[in-house]
């Protein structure tokens, strides 16, 4: 059995077409080995979820290779990928994503039944054990709406474990949970990893969740880093601020706004619809603004 459960090789993901195309992932390489808990951290819009969807075969990369359990799945058809997702990958989402027409037990047995590996009775037997594992043996016949957020997330974990997947992909698993439920869910992840050598790839904003991982990788601006990228935000900031052309544009807009305000003041004076107090406040404001703009231009 291969130690490498997931390999992402030279992954690029580009949305749209020229000239409006947007590059979300830039030459990403990631290998996850059996028994690891890998956390992916990064700011919003950095490409975390896209990376997760490509790792989970929900989306195809624009270029690069995705290898799951030693099998290159990059060129497989949607129906072939469906089988891979069913047997090799487990998913846990931020909003639990349980099927509301099914009870907790039915949600857990669903992946087993569609895999075609288990009979209904076998699936039920396994499902009950899995729910016992996540401490929900007393809630097997409850609908998702009757469970708390933490309980729903534990059902989702039991469902992800249903077909003994190579890897479980988690997208902000504690994003919607309170502190206690988050601790509950993450301790479960840790136990499953230690006791069953279950592999996890977790996308999170939460540094405390990431601290439970055996390895943390960082994603920023579509690129993956083994260490937290330093000064990335500051670099972007400097680039933006040094854009003199945009500064000129801003100044012109401000002058136009001030001239509109001055014209408005003139009209109100002519029609006698302004008292002395307001007139004094407006003229002070305009004088102050003009002086400030002159200062900015002088820099």
């Amino acid at each position: 059995m291969s130690r490498r459960v997931l390999e992402l090789i030279n992954i690029w993901k580009i949305y749209g077409k020229k000239p409006n195309q947007m590059t979300v992932l830039k030459n990403v390489n990631l290998t996850v080995e059996r028994g690891e808990i890998v956390a992916i951290m990064g700011p919003s819009g950095s490409g975390k979820t896209t990376l997760l969807s490509i790792a989970g075969t929900l989306e195809k990369p624009s270029s690069g290779q995705v290898i799951i359990g030693g099998l290159d799945v990059t060129g497989l058809t949607e129906e072939e990928l469906t089988k891979i997702r069913c047997k090799n990958i487990g998913f846990v989402f931020q909003t639990y994503n349980l099927i509301k027409n099914f009870t907790a037990l039915e949600n857990v047995i669903f992946p087993m039944l569609i895999s075609g590996q288990y009979t209904f009775n076998e699936a039920v037997e396994r499902g009950k054990e899995l729910l016992k594992m996540v401490k929900l043996q007393d809630h097997i016949n409850k609908y998702p709406g009757q469970l708390s957020g933490g309980q729903q997330q534990r059902v989702a974990i039991a469902r992800a474990l249903a077909n003994d997947p190579d890897i479980i992909l988690m997208d902000e698993p504690t994003g919607n949970l309170d502190l206690k439920s988050s601790a509950n869910v993450m301790s479960l992840v840790k136990w499953l990893n230690e006791v069953y050598e279950q592999t996890f790839l977790i996308v999170t904003h939460n540094i405390e969740v990431a601290s439970l991982a055996t390895r943390i990788v960082y994603i920023c601006d579509g690129q993956l880093y083994e260490k937290p990228p330093e000064g990335v935000l500051a670099k972007h900031f400097r680039e933006e601020v040094e854009d003199r052309e945009f500064l000129e544009k801003l100044l012109k807009i401000e002058i136009r706004l001030l001239s509109l305000r001055a014209r408005n003041l003139e009209r109100r004076i002519e029609s006698g619809k302004i008292d002395l107090k307001d007139l004094a406040r407006e003229t002070t404001f305009l004088r102050h603004k003009v002086e400030f703009l002159e200062k900015v231009r002088g820099r």
Partner: protein, 383 residues
């Protein structure tokens, strides 16, 4: 099988969680099926009723008559009986007259043919070969005029200035009559000779009714008769039935448009319900796809739901159809146009029920395709 079981669970829960919409959808399907079934059943009943009436009015399969009223020589009966395929030839005189001031259809037949003309005696009996000036009158008329057996009634043929006294020997329900015409007057049966005598046409009859041997083709017999008697005018019972069927088919066609509207409503109802369902479950479909559900699994879920709608709609539709059929049947019977029997066309229950399921499944096809096209990555859009 296991996936089917879970699909059934999913579909049943949907029905349970969305009761109001589901009930409306089932009513839409059921009303279409009920209308279809009622129309088909009533139409079938009309055909059976028409056959009964025609068989009653015309006990023979073939009618042979002359060019004008009562001008067929009686001797022709002997020749007609010899025609191959003819089992029995019945001479009949039919004329109009008055009895006790009421318009009367006077039917003259031989005593041996009374069994064909009388449905049931309520008092008295038939007449014999040698009986003279005797009459069998209708039960309803006798009751309304308080006439009993052995009394004398006066009958005046329309073409004669004289009235003739007849002794009532029987009061009966007369079979060989057209119900619709009889509402204009009453029927009486007199011996053939008396009928000929009172209209002054001794030796002539209005028509000859021919009963054929079992399985005999009336068209072949007609051809034989026309070969021997080219001037004869012939009317086949099946021609009359054909004309009646044409009228019923025309009415059927008109009523069918009403059924089509019902079916269209059912189709729109189902498409709308399943479509709303797909939209509502779009996220869950994406979850299922992400979890590894194949297109066939998703299709099974929504087609199962449509199947259940069709099945329940079909059962409710059949029940409503029976009620609707009885209602229409009673309405027609009460008007007195036809006595529609309580018979159901063979296979109509199966056709109605399977139509319900087929319509429902076809209506679900487009929403199901939409459901199958939901991409698994959609699940992340909700995050």
């Amino acid at each position: 099988m296991s996936v089917a079981k879970l699909s059934l669970t999913f579909a049943l829960r949907d029905l349970k969680f969305r009761k109001f919409i589901s009930i409306l959808n089932i009513i839409a399907i059921a009303s279409g099926i009920a209308t279809f079934m009622a129309l088909r059943t009533v139409s079938f009943g009309c055909r059976v009723a028409a056959e009964n009436v025609v068989s009653q009015v015309l006990p023979g399969e073939i009618l042979v008559y002359g060019e004008s009223l009562c001008d067929l020589p009686e001797e022709v009966m002997y020749d007609l009986e010899k025609v191959p395929g003819v089992e029995r030839a019945i001479p009949v005189v039919l004329t109009i007259g008055y009895m006790e001031g009421a318009l009367t259809f006077i039917l003259g037949i031989e005593s041996k043919d009374l069994d064909l003309a009388v449905a049931q005696y309520s008092s008295g009996g038939g007449f014999g070969e040698d009986d003279y000036r005797v009459v069998i009158i209708e039960t309803n008329f006798a009751e309304s005029r308080n006439i009993s057996v052995k009394e004398t009634v006066f009958i005046k043929p329309q073409i004669s200035p004289n009235s003739y006294p007849f002794r009532v020997v029987g009061i009966a329900n007369i079979g060989m009559k057209i119900q619709e015409i009889s509402s204009a007057g009453t029927y009486v049966i007199v011996p053939l000779r008396e009928a000929q005598e009172i209209i002054g046409r001794e030796g002539f009859i209005t028509m000859a009714m021919l009963k054929l041997d079992e399985g005999e083709d009336p068209r072949l017999v007609e051809e034989t008769i026309l070969r021997e008697f080219p001037e004869a005018r012939i009317f086949r019972r099946e021609d009359i039935l054909k004309m009646i069927y044409q009228v019923i088919s025309l009415v059927d066609g008109l009523l069918f448009s009403a059924t089509v509207i019902g079916v269209i409503i059912a189709v729109f109802g189902t498409v709308n319900t399943i479509m709303a369902n797909v939209r509502e479950h779009a996220r869950e479909i994406a979850i299922m796809r992400a979890l590894g559900a194949r297109v066939s699994h998703i299709a099974t879920i929504f087609l199962t739901e449509a199947f259940i709608y069709g099945m329940i709609g079909g059962i409710v539709g059949l029940a409503l159809g029976f009620l609707e059929t009885n209602l229409v049947r009673n309405l027609i019977n009460s008007i007195g146009l036809l006595e529609i029997p309580a018979v159901t066309e063979p296979g109509i229950i199966f056709i109605s029920f399977s139509s319900s399921i087929i319509v429902s499944l076809l209506s679900a096809a487009y929403p199901t395709i939409k459901a199958c096209n939901v991409k698994p990555v959609e699940v992340l859009k909700y995050e």
